[in-house]
């Protein structure tokens, strides 16, 4: 089902939604768009946010349960799962959800993830204006959403072309106050196609040299020791990635407290270190390599999908500005130095 949401109806529609659901949308905080609970402000549906809305399904830290001890017996209490609708999710993040669904949905299934997944509606926004770091088109995950959304929007200037991707999506159009959505016609779809084609060619021109095959070769030939020496170990390339999903678990508090899990990163040595101190991934270079292998070799094997959706966030936040997609040593002098070190 398709419909057209004129610009002036966007806020009334969100209001409508927020009467029954918690609406999570990008809003402007001190000049930058970030996802948070929508409270009536104009949504900032432009560009991609630095933090992915994937956090709604996979928060940086979440409480698994609270434990209370009473005369030697423990009782457990699981937090309530909120009912949410995410508005504005980009196709790259949506593709990440598809990957996570396969990971967390395979046996043994991950209850905390799936519980949130089931109670969250996803309204995606196709990318007509890719950001400076975006290369989703190359990774086949954008600029338009293919599947996994309840509703997909495309900003065509005068408003949004809305396409339902699920029964819930149809309800999102039909169930709201009358008059907000208008009928979509062929011209809306034609504008959408032109805009998306344009986005696609922008990315192809800029990042056409990136491809999975290319990267797989680079992983084999890269000088990991040297790249590792440059890494500043910020862990950001995992924390920011909508596909990275490793976590660790901690109990906070004795005798009563909370069991929490927090997103982790394989760039830290503690991630792979054994209790006896031995570490199969002892150097930063080896751990960086592992990060790539997971995304481009292991995940595809496990899920059939590449573990990178081309959102470009890890490029943007890399503290050491490592050349992430060619994995080359940056400049001539470093190359010489690297020779000397050998």
């Amino acid at each position: 089902m398709k419909a057209f949401l004129p610009n002036e109806s966007l806020i009334p529609w969100l209001k409508d939604l927020s009467s029954s659901l918690e609406v999570i949308a990008p809003v402007d905080v001190e000049g930058e768009a970030v996802y948070q609970t929508w409270k009536g402000q104009p949504p900032a549906l432009v560009g991609n946010t630095l933090s992915s809305p994937i956090e709604v399904l996979m928060p940086r830290t979440e409480v698994l349960f609270r434990y209370v001890q009473d005369s030697g017996r423990y009782t457990f209490d699981e937090p309530k799962v909120p009912t949410r609708i995410v508005v504005g999710m980009k196709p790259c993040d949506l593709k990440a959800v598809a990957i996570l669904d396969r990971i967390f949905g395979s046996e043994p299934t991950d209850h905390p993830y799936l519980a949130k997944r089931r109670s969250t509606l996803l309204v995606s926004l196709n990318c007509t204006d890719p950001g400076p770091w975006c290369f989703c088109a190359i990774m086949d995950s954008g600029p338009d959403a293919q599947e996994g959304f309840d509703l997909a929007l495309t900003d065509i200037g005068s408003g949004y072309l809305a396409e339902a991707g699920s029964a819930a999506g149809v309800l999102l159009i039909k169930g709201c106050s009358s008059g907000l959505f208008l009928e979509a016609d062929g011209s809306h779809e034609a504008s959408r196609d032109i805009l998306l084609e344009n986005a696609r060619s922008v990315m192809a021109e800029k990042y056409g040299d990136r491809s999975v095959g290319h990267l797989r070769r680079a992983i084999r030939s890269a000088d990991w020791e040297y790249l590792g020496r440059q890494c500043l170990r910020c862990g950001g390339c995992s924390f920011i990635c909508p596909v990275c999903h490793c976590f660790s678990i901690a109990d906070l508090g004795v005798p009563d407290g909370e069991r929490v899990r927090c997103r982790d990163t394989c760039l830290l040595s503690g991630f792979s270190r054994m209790t006896n101190g031995a570490n199969p991934l002892g150097s930063i270079g080896e751990r960086m390599r592992n990060w790539y292998l997971d995304k481009f070799e292991h995940l595809p094997e496990r899920t059939g999908l590449i573990g990178c959706v081309g959102c470009g966030r890890c490029d943007e936040i890399c503290l050491a500005q490592i050349d992430r997609w060619r994995l080359e040593v940056l400049d001539e002098r470093s190359r010489q130095q690297r020779q000397q070190h050998k």
């Binding site: 996802y35 933090s51 956090e55 830290t61 862990g235 407290g257 929490v260 830290l268 500005q321 400049d331």
Partner: protein, 673 residues
């Protein structure tokens, strides 16, 4: 679910970040693209800066000592006790140690509390242990003791000299700009006894024997002058005293210095050439320069080098003393120092005193007070009887732990305000629970003089309160006029009293930031300092000479112990050790040893060793590391179960009174299992 824009609580880089909040709790942190300093990047501590906020160990109600125990008390009771307890001691017997973790507003109010409330200038903070020599040294040389250029200016340098700074670990954001400059072709020179990550990326690595910095820095100047690389024009127009320095460095020819420092003469020459011939050269330094009895001289030696080559007042040049705590710069700016009022106005200057007496409507004490380490030492001799310690843990961070403990136990009255129980709060008569950075409003000033807001993301736990409220409440009880309803109001008072903050208001700060000096409301702030002139007119050279460290290795203690930090922990670990990932990364104390020294002691990687100095001994795990030169032991000081400062000494730099934390004679033994 919401995100609150704020400023990182850990190091002095001042990265901007969002705290992620859900259900009233901080659940994460992520970078802000808009941050002028960090531009969408963070280090690992920043990414995990929200972790400690919810920790169940947080102090949540005031406590007072009754018999052997600390029992719960009301705020009213606790505050009255602090006010009367300290007031009763008399001005010369009380002291206030403020916190470089606190906001500017809080430091301002505690500085005011000490001076106007308790009538004492005995107020100081942890800068004494890090950058007191910088304040002393650079104030003399340039007229101001802060970083001269914005961090981003490093990108434009043609050469960068990094001295005694483990930049990639301690100031990762600064390191990221160094790497940027490097990939654009800048020469990187790193001086550090250890082969740190940044040293391994350097073009030239100078590995001097600890405590010989003046000698090798002088030798660089010696070669620069000899090669005709000095900037004659800059020297004549902008400086004074060059001739004396030129004279004094004559005796520091690289060959002579090689014998003192153990650095090959040709390495010194090469470094001199790299720094001296660059059009734009910057110097970055940290604790490796300052934590010495010659700290102030070390700083002056670097200033001499920059002045002689005209590397000041332009993009890509300058001196970067990197500040450890996120607001140690601000605490200094706010006069949390025994000899300076807010805005670096001298306590001994009668005009300045008159200004503050008028502004604060009260009489103020004359003459500078005691420094932090002196306060602790005077507590041991009984001269100081009462201390108020804000957010600081001297039991772990100060040198010579046993004597710190004796001193604190001897006090008649000790009040501690903190977010977690610490080794120090356990000794307190009154413990006040404080709000963390995520639970209050205020401003921090980063190492590049950048004043930035922090914002309240969540409510503080239990009854805990912001430190500015505690200070305001104590001021009220001591009858000092001033009724503050918000930190913004405190900032208004600051801007009226401290000229370098004259133009700073919360309205202007918004999402943006301001770099001081910002003297008036229409002033845009100052990125690069000294473009046209120095605050003292002409900058001052001063000849400095090499002096051997107070405690060198000898037959009995043949090794040199030097202390430092780990990238994953902060200060005494009260916050980082409560972050699951940070704590997992470096879970326990260790000593780094060169393989030769290790095998001489019969030690293998991972075994337990006994490290002894004249002050004490510690058992901890050995890490055999090729990065540590022969004869040197390295130990991080974050761990209260093996406090490195049990081993360090408290010999002081005569002018800045910083203790020599970087050098102690030590020996190493295997512990039989």
């Amino acid at each position: 679910m919401k995100k609150i824009l704020t400023t990182c609580v850990y190091c002095g880089c001042g990265c901007g970040l969002y705290l992620h909040v859900d259900e009233g709790k901080v659940i994460g942190a992520s970078p802000s693209r808009k941050s002028a300093a960090s531009r969408g990047k963070l280090c690992i501590k920043g990414w995990l800066s929200g972790d400690f906020v919810n920790h169940p160990d947080r102090l949540s109600y005031p406590m007072i000592q009754r018999g052997e125990r600390q029992i719960r008390a009301s705020w009213d009771e606790a505050l009255s006790l602090v006010a009367s307890g300290l007031k009763g001691m008399g001005p010369s017997a009380v002291g206030v140690l403020t916190s470089a973790k606190g906001t500017n507003e809080e430091n301002y109010l505690f500085s005011k509390l000490a001076r106007a409330g308790f009538k004492t200038n005995n107020v100081d903070h942890v800068a004494r242990l890090c950058h007191a020599p910088t304040v002393a040294g650079l104030s003399y040389a340039f007229g101001s003791g802060a970083t001269t250029n914005p961090i981003s200016s490093l990108e434009e340098a043609d050469a960068i000299l990094v001295v005694g700074s483990n930049t990639t670990e301690q100031h990762p954001l600064v390191a990221s700009y160094v790497l940027k400059a490097r990939s654009k072709g800048a020469k990187l020179i790193v001086a550090d006894p250890r082969r740190t990550q940044i040293a391994s990326l350097a073009d030239i690595h100078i590995s001097p024997r600890p405590g010989t910095d003046v000698a090798w820095i002088n030798s660089l100047l010696n070669s620069i002058i000899k090669e005709g690389l000095a900037d004659r024009d800059f020297i004549t127009k902008r400086t004074m005293g060059f001739e004396a320095v030129k004279e004094s460095v004559l005796s520091y020819a690289p060959e002579i210095v090689e014998a003192i420092c153990g650095v090959p003469a040709e390495v010194l020459r090469e470094a001199a050439l790299a720094y001296g011939s660059a059009d734009k050269a910057s110097i970055i330094y940290a604790m490796g320069i300052t934590q010495h009895t010659t700290g102030t001289d070390n700083v002056q030696a670097l200033a001499n080098l920059a002045l002689a080559t005209g590397n000041l007042g332009r993009p890509g040049t300058g001196l970067y003393p990197l500040r450890g705590h996120q607001n140690v710069q601000g605490a200094c700016d706010m006069g949390a120092l025994p000899d300076l009022y807010p805005g670096y106005q001298k306590v001994v200057d009668a005009n300045a005193r008159a200004k503050f007496e008028k502004g604060w409507s009260t009489k103020l004490p004359k003459g500078p007070g005691l420094t932090a380490v002196e306060m602790i030492q005077s507590a041991e001799t009984g001269k100081i009887k009462g201390l108020l310690i804000i957010g600081e843990n001297p039991m772990v961070s100060y040198p010579d732990r046993s004597s710190v403990q004796r001193a604190l136990e001897k006090l008649e009255f000790l009040a501690v305000c903190d977010i977690f129980p610490t080794e120090t709060s356990k000794l307190a008569d009154v413990v006040l629970p404080a709000a963390s950075f995520a639970e209050k409003e205020g401003t921090f000033t980063s190492t590049e003089r950048r004043i930035q807001r922090i914002r309240k993301a969540v409510d503080p736990p239990g009854e805990s309160r912001s430190e500015w409220e505690v200070a305001a409440e104590l001021l009220r009880r001591l009858g000092v006029p001033g009724d503050y309803s918000s930190p913004a109001e405190v900032m208004e008072e600051i801007s009226s009293m401290a000229p370098n903050y004259g133009g700073v208001t919360y309205r202007r700060l918004g999402a943006a930031s301001l770099q001081w000096p910002c003297p008036s409301r229409d002033h845009p702030g100052t990125g690069i300092m000294y473009i046209e002139k120095f605050p003292i007119g002409l900058a001052r050279f001063r000849p400095v000479d090499h002096m051997e460290p107070v405690e060198g290795p000898d037959g009995e203690y043949p090794l040199l112990l030097t202390t430092g930090r780990s990238m994953y922990h902060f200060h005494t670990g009260t916050m980082t050790r409560r972050s699951p990932l940070l704590d997992r990364e470096v879970p326990s104390p260790f000593v780094e040893v060169n393989s030769e020294d290790a095998s001489r002691a019969g030690l293998r990687n991972g075994q337990k060793a006994l490290v002894e100095t004249r002050r004490g001994q510690l058992q901890l795990e050995v890490k055999v590391s090729p990065g540590v030169p022969k004869g040197i032991l390295f130990m991080p000081f974050h761990f209260s179960e093996a406090p490195a400062n049990l081993l360090t000494g408290a010999s002081l730099d005569p002018s800045s009174k910083i203790p020599e934390l970087k050098i102690s004679a030590a020996r190493l033994r295997k512990v039989s299992p």
